[in-house]
């Protein structure tokens, strides 16, 4: 299943980010998100449909659609998830 690497990848003890860096990254993400929403005040949307007149419609829709897809995927996984060697155990692989 796995390719032979050209040179074996060197392995070292894993590094982790400090809690402070993670908090900073979240703050940065929050600032960027706020900026994209606030920009709509100066550049109002040009709606093709009524629903787009809602302020920050794209932001809300994007978040909710993704959350729904993740939930749907998790629900489907409970039915269709199998161990990696599922097919190998059945003699096919």
């Amino acid at each position: 299943m796995e390719e032979r690497p050209s040179a074996p990848a060197q392995s070292v003890p894993a590094q982790t980010l400090s809690a402070r860096t993670i908090r900073r990254l979240w703050l940065m993400l929050g600032a960027v998100l706020a900026a994209t929403v606030l920009t709509e005040i100066w550049i109002p949307s040009e709606p093709h449909f009524e629903i787009e007149r809602l302020f920050a419609f794209a932001a809300l829709f994007g978040f909710l659609a993704c959350a729904a897809m993740i939930v749907a995927a998790t629900a489907l996984a409970s039915l269709l998830k199998r161990p990696e060697d599922f097919y190998r155990e059945r003699g096919d692989e």
Partner: protein, 564 residues
């Protein structure tokens, strides 16, 4: 016949044959020069019929060009060059000749003016791509390639039967727009859809492609599905079925990619997802939508190849494919990481990338046509693309938790190939006019308006927020997700084995019956014919004379009675 020499596809196929025997520097030169020559030919090929003839009373046009075929041929040539540059160090003697056959055959389809030529190059593509899979050399790749080949030969058979039916009905083999109004057209439609990765047989794609070598999947991602998009664009524009089929593929790709642990299988599901967008555009069928589908096929080939090059570079350097084994590679593979991110942004249609200027044409076509539900679904799907390919792929491979792996950066030729495609992804996102001028219909669309950019950024960045908020839900596990291939890998196999057992026991029963009949015949023969039995004894000749006298007497008596 001199036009044959101008066919860029045949040039690539010839170069593939040459590559099979060349070695060393000469091989490298042919490897890089042939796709560039093919690109020049494709660029300069004039409109109209370039080669025609008669076959079995039908007019065949093996070489014909217009804007649509030129667009696809150009991107196929660019792809062949980028793939060749990336695969320069590929030690397999089979992979690159096979890949050139594959790319040349895809161009052959793009320049085919009749359905028989489409069929011939269609089958050559199946052979070329199967050989690319075989060249990977592993047992799992071989088995996956056999499943892959079976599906594609099925598609080829459907196509041939459909073409034969079409020829009988229409008395012509010319490849023009059709309706799904007869059995033969449905068969052709189904054959095209199989190669597009449409349901229910879409599993061939995520099953087979990730088993190819580190460079093989870069080629595989480009030609089969996009040739299918091309033939659907030419053969079935405006077919409403494509909207529903495409929409299913879009969400199937997202959901399965979200559950996947293998980095290249994530990208394979994402191919199905992206082809879904193109099919929706073809199904909507307006000039804007068809332009959008064609442009999206063009840009998709570039950014998907770029994503698979970055994944291939990781596989080459670490030998690992699972997200659970990877992470933190940005430390030692910065160029690969940066190029992977550019590909991820382009596939997500971020402003200033190629995906933004192509996919938004399809969405805009849905809006212009007042198709609210389709427009909403496409917007949700655009967010979903960022979720599964835009963030998930780079996050789990290059960032997330540190895996402790410190692989070396990809070799120079791979870096150059990635940088070239990354430059094209960003370049086309900024200077999109050259791409728009290649599209089949005149373009009256300006992708960069303030509101469009703002709403797209909101949509994408908030799906990014959803990803990080719900990250625990997306934690990767050592699992696969069952797909339709379960039907032929488990259920079909079980049915075949059970049928085999049934036939074996039936044959067994027949053999027993035969034995019993033989024994019976033998026993009765023995009873009468064995030494000392009634028919094997010696009888005195007097007995015979007596019996003959008795019979003569009976004859005379009966004759006398009859006479009176």
């Amino acid at each position: 016949m001199s036009n044959v020499a101008q066919h860029p596809g045949l040039l690539l196929i010839a170069a593939g044959v040459l590559l099979a025997v060349l070695r060393g520097r000469l091989r490298d030169i042919v490897l890089l020069a042939a796709p560039l020559a093919a690109l020049a030919l494709a660029w300069n090929v004039p409109d109209g019929i370039l080669l025609e003839g008669k076959l079995l009373g039908y007019e065949v046009v093996p070489f014909q060009a217009d804007k649509l075929s030129r667009l696809f041929a150009i991107i196929f040539a660019i792809m062949a060059f980028g793939g060749a540059l990336f695969a320069l160090r590929q030690p397999s003697r089979l992979e690159l000749p096979a890949a050139f056959l594959y790319a040349g055959a895809a161009m052959g389809v793009a320049f085919a003016g009749d359905l028989l030529t489409v069929f011939v190059f269609w089958e050559l593509m199946a052979i070329g791509s199967t050989l690319v899979l075989w060249s990977s050399g592993s047992a799992t790749a071989y088995r996956a390639s056999v499943r892959y080949l079976m599906i594609h030969l099925l598609g080829g058979t459907l196509l041939l039967v459909g073409v034969a039916g079409h020829a009988a009905e229409a008395q012509s083999l010319r490849f023009a727009a059709m309706q799904v109004d007869s059995l033969s057209h449905w068969l052709i439609f189904a054959a095209f859809l199989i190669n597009a990765g449409a349901p229910p047989l879409s599993a061939w794609l995520p099953d087979a492609y990730p088993e190819s070598s580190w460079s093989g999947m870069v080629f595989l991602s480009a030609f089969t599905t996009k040739t299918a998009v091309y033939v659907l664009l030419r053969g079935f524009p405006g077919t409403e079925w494509l909207v529903y089929i495409g929409m299913f593929m879009v969400f199937y790709g997202i959901i399965y990619a979200l559950l996947e642990n293998d980095m290249r299988r994530i990208l394979a599901f994402s191919i199905v997802n992206q082809v879904g967008f193109m099919l929706v555009g073809i199904g909507i069928g307006t000039e804007m939508a068809l332009n959008g589908a064609a442009a999206h096929a063009f840009t998709h080939i570039l950014y998907k190849a770029l994503l698979l090059m970055s994944a291939g570079a990781v596989l080459y350097a670490t030998g690992k494919r699972r997200c659970t084994d990877l992470g933190g590679l940005f430390r030692t593979m910065p160029v690969t990481t940066a190029c992977g991110i550019v590909g991820a942004l382009a596939i997500s249609s971020f402003p200033l990338t190629s995906g933004f200027v192509s996919k938004s044409m399809v969405t805009q076509a849905a809006a212009t046509g007042h198709l609210l539900v389709i427009w909403l679904l496409l917007a949700a799907a655009s967010a979903g693309v960022f979720l599964h390919a835009g963030i998930k792929f780079p996050w789990f491979v290059f960032f997330q938790k540190d895996s402790g792996l410190r692989p070396p950066e990809a070799p120079l030729n791979m870096r150059l190939a990635m940088l070239l495609f990354a430059a094209l992804c960003i370049g086309l996102g900024i200077w999109y006019e050259p791409l728009y001028s290649l599209l089949p219909y005149p373009v009256e669309y300006a992708p960069y308006t303030g509101p469009h950019v703002v709403s797209q950024l909101q949509l994408l960045l908030f799906s990014g927020l959803a990803f990080f908020v719900m990250l625990p839900w997306l934690k990767r596990t050592l699992t696969i997700t069952l797909d339709f291939d379960w039907v032929y890998r488990v259920a079909g196999r079980a049915v075949a084995l059970a049928l085999g057992r049934l036939i074996a026991s039936a044959l067994d029963g027949l053999a027993q019956m035969r034995d019993r009949i033989c024994a019976c015949v033998l026993a009765s023969a023995k009873r009468f014919h064995a030494p000392g039995q009634i028919l094997a004894r010696t009888w005195p000749s007097g007995d015979s004379a007596l019996w003959m006298m008795v019979m003569l007497l009976a004859l005379l008596t009966s004759g006398f009675l009859a006479w009176n």
